[in-house]
């Protein structure tokens, strides 16, 4: 008999700051209405999100975004995340070009990075946001090396986040619409 439900929740590492009741994992599922496969998928997608939140990839803002999803807008989170990656991809290539084409143009670099940081903040991409902030600090100090290093970190966080969110959405899709219907209303 698989361990699902609240017992499973407790076994997941979570930071004390992780709010109970918000971004809640398993609502009470009626096993008779959901196949075992779906239940397991739901658990795994929740775990995936909780780990992402617990490890700081995503913060409370991501939960806020999820709260905006409902029957009227059932794919909202994925749509926003897709727009984020479209936007951030563009901004990052702007920065990449600017680093090359406009050496030591800290104002320009900072302006682009400010936009990227804003986007990260909007979806709760906290680790990536922190790297953006390091970059801006380096700009403020006129530190080219620092900027270059930070930018590499920004790119890395971007790639990791993309991976995590992609698998999260994939798991959600596997969980199917029944999972969404049983999501607790906050």
């Amino acid at each position: 008999m698989p361990t699902i439900g609240f017992a499973f929740e407790e076994s997941i590492v979570s930071t004390p700051r992780l709010p109970i009741g918000r971004c809640t994992l398993l609502p009470l599922l009626d096993p008779s209405r959901m196949s075992l496969e779906r239940i397991v998928s739901r658990v795994t997608s929740n775990q995936s999100r909780k780990l992402a939140v617990g490890k700081g990839y995503l913060d409370e803002q991501f939960c806020q975004v999820e709260d905006l999803q409902d029957e009227a807008s059932p794919n909202f989170v994925e749509e926003v995340v897709t727009l984020f990656f479209k936007d951030s991809g563009r901004l990052m290539s702007n920065i990449e070009q600017a680093l090359e084409k406009y050496p030591r143009d800290f104002n320009r670099w900072d302006t682009y990075m400010q936009q990227l940081k804003g986007s990260c903040s909007s979806i709760g991409a906290s680790r990536m946001k922190n790297e953006c902030m390091s970059f801006r600090d380096s700009c403020g100090q006129g530190n080219v090396e620092g900027c270059m290093r930070s930018f590499q970190k920004v790119k890395r966080e971007h790639a990791v986040l993309r991976q995590k969110l992609e698998s999260y959405f994939q798991l959600l899709r596997q969980a199917g619409p029944a999972g969404a219907a049983t999501r607790p209303v906050m």
Binding site: Q64, L68, D70, S73, G118, S119, S121
Partner: protein, 201 residues
Amino acid sequence: MAVAIEAPFHVLAVDDSLPDRKLIERLLKTSSFQVTTVDSGSKALEFLGLHDHEDSPISTQSDQQEVAVNLIITDYCMPGMTGYDLLKKIKESSYLRDIPVVIMSSDNIPSRINRCLEEGADEFFLKPVRLSDMSKLKPHILKSRCKEHYQQEQHLQSNSESNNSSNPTSENSSSSTSTNSHKRKAVDEEILPHTIRPRHS
């Protein structure tokens, strides 16, 4: 007793960031506002019926009806025209200045916030904007509509009083009416308590 269903308030949201536009749109719709989003200050002014180098409306064709905007919410940092520049243009326009304006910014800079408030912004939201922030919008809309309604009543009163005599104040009132009637046309219909309109979703 018939329940009056008023048309939802219409908010114009201005933000150059695509994900942010999507978010603010959702936040506003979830809070029962009708929403139009644009990606720049100049497009906002265009939507509001203003070229950015004039302070009076673009001459509209007689059959073209302006959509009433009850509140403008704009990002501060935008390329070209910033949210602050947009705010200034709106406040400089006798036609638009009564529409409440809210500024959003991801940077918490007190001098920036003060500057906006001094220029006439009604509220300043720190990004990321939350659902709880939405409840702060309606009071500003209602306050500005009360003011407008009051001004309208004053005008109606002075008009009826001056019907039999020429009166310098009536000239003032009618000129202010003509500049504001553009905006008021749609709003008039909304103020009447017994107006029943279909809900926009």
